[in-house]
């Protein structure tokens, strides 16, 4: 009798945990349209770091441990997108003029060799 009640309780607890997770996903529209997901990600980016900081402060207060302050991450001011685009354009323009350049250089080389062997 007790075992049955206990297994029923376990099933109800597991069911409520799983059902709560599914409801949370449905409520926050995480599996919905892409703009809602983007908004959820932005909200998470704003909420999670202060929450982590407060949690770490609480843990420090309770345990007496001192978590050392990490230095701030370096700000990289390198425009990756612009340099990538510029690189792609340079490579493509080089590839497009490559045949005519090869022809020109080989012609010049041939003229040079002809002049030398005369």
């Amino acid at each position: 009798m007790v075992a049955r009640v206990w297994s029923l309780m376990r099933f109800l607890i597991k069911g409520s945990v799983a059902g709560g997770a599914v409801y949370l996903v449905y409520d926050q529209e995480l599996l919905g349209p892409s703009d809602k997901s983007q908004a959820a990600l932005q909200k998470a980016g704003e909420v999670v770091p202060p929450a982590m900081y407060q949690f770490s402060q609480y843990v420090c207060q309770q345990t007496g441990l001192q978590i050392p302050q990490l230095p701030a991450p370096p700000k990289i001011d390198f425009p990756i997108r612009d340099s990538w685009n510029a690189g792609i354009m340079t490579v493509m323009s080089a590839l497009s003029v490559a045949p005519s350049k090869v022809r020109e250089y080989s012609k010049e080389g041939w003229e040079y060799v002809k002049a030398r062997t005369k």
């Binding site: 995480l30 892409s34 997901s37 983007q38 990600l41 997108r81």
Partner: protein
């Protein structure tokens, strides 16, 4: 489609993919721990579902300006 709009669509796609794969993975963890005896397949299933939904959303987003929407009009008998 202008380049800035294309960039915005790519950003939205990537953010959507991250959220959906993470959500699928999280739900997979929950179901694996609660009902499926810590097996690996719910995680793979959830992540795969999230990836598929994100891919479908991205595809629709990129094709949206070029899709034509029509409707059937019944012929009126005179």
């Amino acid at each position: 489609m202008s380049e800035s709009e294309l960039g915005r669509k790519w950003d939205r796609c990537l953010a959507d993919a991250v959220v959906k794969i993470g959500t699928g993975f999280g739900l997979g963890i929950v179901f694996s721990l609660t009902f499926f005896k810590r097996r690996m397949w719910p995680l793979a299933f959830g992540s795969g579902m999230g990836l598929g939904m994100a891919y479908s959303n991205c595809q629709h987003d990129f094709q949206a300006p070029y899709l034509l929407h029509g409707k059937y009009v019944k012929e009126q008998e005179q």
